[in-house]
């Protein structure tokens, strides 16, 4: 069972139990032996807050540094998803304000479609409220845990409420909410609700205060935004760092990515837990129509074949199917030939845009990208894309910077256990003219980008930070990397040729004066004739050896890269408004 389902079940349980146990638990005395009943009671009494504490590593809030990143990430991912679904070119503003004492204010504002008034409290104030849980569609959002978890984290660490502003259109009013999560009921608590003036026609803005810490470099908010802008070249980001630097990541494409299509699950990826749950929730009357309607590529004939192999009657009610029968169905599926899932449901970035994305953020001399054809693992369609930037201003002697992406989200943690990193290391980069220590990343001025687009990205663990080692996926990654690698190799060998030609010419030119000197001496010529001979010899050299093709790095040639945008100091002013009184710390702990 996937962790999302696991979390959802757990939260439901937690909420149910805490509603039932309204009475407060007696405080435990130290060293006192506890009965099994007491332990059971205690277990039942945990609140959503305690659940969060228990699972914060799954939710991306392991430590202060990561908490800051996760909060920004959840908000930005939501904004990008919302904009794309509404077919709006995203323009996203991110600001981090250092409020001292490890407290930060995170502000994320988008120009998305906005959220209808009545949904606002639930989107931000109820765990697992999302709209994405029950569907198979390529999207960034993590099934509705993310942003509300950030709200909860903010509330638990600072006691502050979250401020949300949203407007759905020009003729609609803008709403401001101040929200918290009732940790006992997993329900939103509205502290303030009002209609406000907002110059934006549509969009959403969220402000959260939280305990975090800000660093630069790898695994930072800076890096997350930079990488996000690379794989979302249709989006503009304006990012104000805690130091007051404003960085603009301007869009380089005016075209929105193709909208991914929602598909039904393919039977080949089905697991027993999911099947049991689907059987419970379905509206279909018979098991036969359940199979035909709830899955892709299951025709009447295929469904009957499955049921026959599983020895289950076609007219059985789904809710009546036993676990044993369900297991037999799973087994029968694996023995039945079913067409692969439809592959047009994915939205790739595209070769041109990957190149442009890299160009605008990395000032290199060579760019290449490839988008593979869709492929399938365990019934889930996926596409692998790879990109490369080489040379220029990239550091020369450090290992390649491998940027990993899943559904256009940067993966910043767990690089070592990720199938992408492993595949990069396993490849022979020496073939393409690069240095590579044994069992390590290639070394050189190199950025390697790998992206998987899928309706269901297989992660190695709950935290969704690394892609799992499926042979089908590794194979595609390898093919993609080989293709860009070959092109890089070709470029490098051309560059080497030109360099050696320049060297050779310099060498030959050294001897030109000797030739003219000797001819002058033998024929008793004058100095001006000697000089003429030298000029002519140089012309001959140029003519004989041809024009040298220009390769290598030219700082000015990359039109997409704008240094001005990279560092713009911006004064964001002082935090002038504390918009909510301190909340009682004890209360939020439940």
């Amino acid at each position: 069972m996937r962790i999302d389902s696991f979390l959802k079940e757990e939260i439901k349980q937690v909420v149910k139990e805490s509603k039932r146990n309204n009475s407060k638990e007696p405080k435990e005395e130290k060293n006192k032996q506890r009965s099994a009943e007491e332990l059971a009671k205690q277990h039942k009494a945990i609140s959503v807050a305690e659940f969060f504490e228990k699972n914060r590593h799954l939710l991306g809030f392991d430590n202060n540094r990561k908490a800051l990143l996760t909060t920004v990430k959840e908000a930005v991912d939501n904004s990008l998803d919302a904009c794309e679904e509404a077919r709006i070119l995203p323009e996203i503003y991110v600001e981090l304000i250092d409020m001292g004492n490890n407290r930060f204010r995170v502000i994320v504002e988008d120009n998305g479609p906005g959220i209808v008034k009545q949904n606002i409290p639930f989107v931000f104030g109820k765990l697992l409220y999302g709209s994405k849980f029950h569907r198979l569609k390529q999207s960034r959002g993590q099934q509705g845990i993310g942003i509300s978890a950030a709200v909860l984290y903010s509330q638990l660490t600072t006691g502050r409420a979250t401020k949300v502003m949203s407007r759905t259109g020009k003729d609609k009013p803008a709403h401001l909410y101040e929200l918290r999560i009732n940790t006992l009921k997993n329900e939103p608590e509205i502290l303030k609700e009002e209609i406000i003036e907002w110059e934006k026609e549509h969009g959403t803005r969220i402000e959260l205060d939280l305990v975090g810490s800000y660093y630069r470099g790898a695994q930072s908010v800076d890096e997350y935004i930079k990488q996000t802008s690379i794989v979302n070249p249709h989006a503009t980001f304006i990012y104000v760092t805690p130091d007051g630097e404003q960085r603009i990541y301007a869009r380089v494409s005016e075209t929105l990515p193709k909208e991914p299509k929602e598909i039904k699950p393919h039977p080949y990826g089905l697991e027993i837990g999911t099947l049991v749950k689907m059987l419970k929730l379905t509206k279909e009357k018979t098991i036969l129509s359940f199979l035909k309607k709830e899955f892709s590529r299951v025709s009447d004939k295929v469904a009957k074949e499955i049921l026959e192999k599983a020895s289950v009657a076609p007219n059985e009610k789904p809710s009546q199917i036993t676990r044993e029968q369900a297991e037999r169905i799973i087994d029968a599926i694996s023995k039945t030939k079913i067409l692969p899932p439809p592959l047009d449901c994915l939205s790739e970035i595209g070769e041109e845009l990957i190149k442009k994305g890299l160009m605008k953020e990395v000032n290199a001399e060579f760019y290449e990208a490839v988008t593979r054809k869709p492929s399938v693992y365990k019934g889930y369609p996926f596409i692998i894309e790879a990109g490369i930037a080489y040379g220029g201003e990239l550091p020369k002697d450090s290992p390649a910077n491998v940027m990993r992406f899943a559904n256009k989200i940067p993966l910043l943690y767990q690089a070592g256990s990720c199938a992408f990193t492993k595949t990069v290391i396993a490849m022979d980069w020496k073939k393409y003219g690069l240095n590579q220590p044994k069992g390590a990343l290639p070394v050189g001025p190199l950025v390697i980008l790998v992206h998987i687009a899928s309706v269901w990205v297989p992660y190695t663990n709950e935290a969704k930070e690394a892609v799992a080692n499926y042979p089908e996926i590794i194979k595609e990654v390898k093919l993609a990397l080989q293709e860009v690698g070959r092109k890089l190799g070709k470029y490098l060998s051309k560059k080497r040729n030109v360099e050696s030609e320049i060297k050779k010419r310099g060498y030959i030119e050294k001897y030109i004066p000797h030739i003219s000197f000797a001819v002058k001496d033998i024929l008793d010529l004058d100095e001006s004739m000697k000089l003429e001979l030298e000029t002519k010899l140089k012309q001959i050299l140029e003519h004989v050896r041809g024009k040298i093709e220009k390769v290598g790095f030219d700082k000015e040639s990359n039109k997409e890269f704008d240094e001005e945008f990279k560092l713009k100091v911006h004064s964001h002013g002082i935090v002038d408004e504390i918009y909510l009184d301190e909340v009682d710390e004890n209360e939020s702990k439940g």
């Binding site: 001897y511 030739i515 001496d521 033998i522």
Partner: protein, 362 residues
């Protein structure tokens, strides 16, 4: 027109051609005959190695620009020597080139090779360019008067039969020498040890011949001296070396038909009428000589000779001699004849060999 004027004209002609090429934006080039064994053939009529048509071209490429420039500068130096009627030894030429900065020679072999290239290119001997060899010539003793001149042009007569225990030393340039002799033949000897013995016992007097010591592979001057003496006085030439591949294929073959490296000069330097007296492989058997086993280099040299040497390939008796030695796996020195007494070589071996033409090799 003297020989040197002729050479000067050739140098200027070549420079003119290069200047012309450059001014007309043509890639200038120098064509030089390839000096190696695989670019010569044995010409039975002329009796020496003759160069084939293979040439190497130097022009403005990374691998040849340096030697292109060096060749031209060496030509300029030769022109200078001719104009000023001066000479330079090979070593002096090498040091002169020390001022050529990046065009200087790495070592003397390089400058010597360039000099050889120029000889081949201009089809002349370097003595005509003003470059003289460092090495001294061989020693000569016998019934011979050499007429030389001093700096003032006075004729000096040198009697080679009157040198006491010493010998007349061949000068580096023999072109101006004249001879008077009533000798019957010239005997060229590999080692100075054997030469000393023959001189001491006045072998030259007994047999009425001129003895020349080569001390290994004969120098250009020695070869030119033997050739000139043989031509001018119409004397046959016999050669006496160790019975090993070095004595045969390096010393004798070079003297008779020339070498691959100097194929362009063979015409002037080799002695096609020379005949090989001994020690032959058959001698080792016939005289039951004390021997040494063949070294690896000897064996390699024999195979190489059989396979690649145009001279050996043309002469069946030489092939048989080499094959016989391969079979014996043995070699013998000239001095091995001392087995039968120190003067056996004078009293028996040489007189016997000189009478028996069938025991000679061509």
């Amino acid at each position: 027109m003297s020989q040197r004027d002729d050479v000067l004209y050739k140098i200027q002609e070549l420079a003119e051609q290069i200047k012309d090429d450059i001014l007309n934006l043509r890639n200038p080039k120098i064509r030089i005959p390839v000096r190696s064994l695989n670019n010569v053939y044995f010409d039975p009529v002329k009796g020496h190695f003759t160069i084939k048509s293979k040439v190497k071209t130097r022009r403005l490429t990374a691998s040849t620009a340096r030697s292109f420039a060096q060749t031209l500068r060496m030509l300029a130096l030769a022109k200078e020597l001719i104009i000023t009627n001066d000479i330079a030894t090979k070593r002096e030429a090498y040091y002169t080139a020390y001022n050529w900065l990046e065009a200087r020679f790495q070592n003397q072999q390089e400058s010597d090779a360039t000099m050889d290239d120029i000889e081949a290119m201009l089809y002349t001997i370097r003595e005509n360019l003003g470059f003289i060899p460092e090495e001294r010539g061989g020693d000569v003793v016998g019934p011979l008067i050499v007429k030389d001149r001093d700096q003032d042009g006075n004729v000096l007569k040198i009697d080679c039969s009157n040198m006491g225990s010493g010998a007349y030393s061949v000068p580096s340039n023999v072109e101006k020498l004249e001879f008077e002799t009533k000798a019957d033949f010239i005997l060229a000897i590999e080692t100075s040890g054997m030469f000393q013995r023959l001189v001491k016992h006045k072998f030259w007097n007994k047999m009425n011949c001129i003895l020349v010591s080569m001390s290994g592979v004969p120098t250009r001057a020695t070869r030119r001296f033997i050739r000139k003496l043989s031509d001018d006085m119409n004397l046959p030439v016999y050669v006496f070396t160790d019975g090993d591949p070095y004595g045969w294929l390096n010393i004798y073959r070079t003297l008779k038909v020339g070498s691959g490296n100097a194929a362009h000069l063979n015409e002037f330097f080799c002695v096609p009428r020379a005949k090989y007296l001994g020690v032959t492989a058959q001698d080792i058997i016939d005289y039951d000589l004390p021997t040494h086993p063949l070294k690896d280099v000897d064996i390699k040299r024999i195979y190489d000779g059989l396979k690649n040497d145009p001279f050996v390939k043309y002469h069946k008796d030489w092939q048989e001699n080499l094959k016989l030695q391969l079979k014996l796996k043995k070699r013998a020195e000239q001095q091995a004849l001392a087995k039968y007494g120190l003067n056996f070589v004078i009293t028996d071996y040489l007189p016997k060999k000189l009478k028996d033409k069938n025991s000679w090799l061509s």
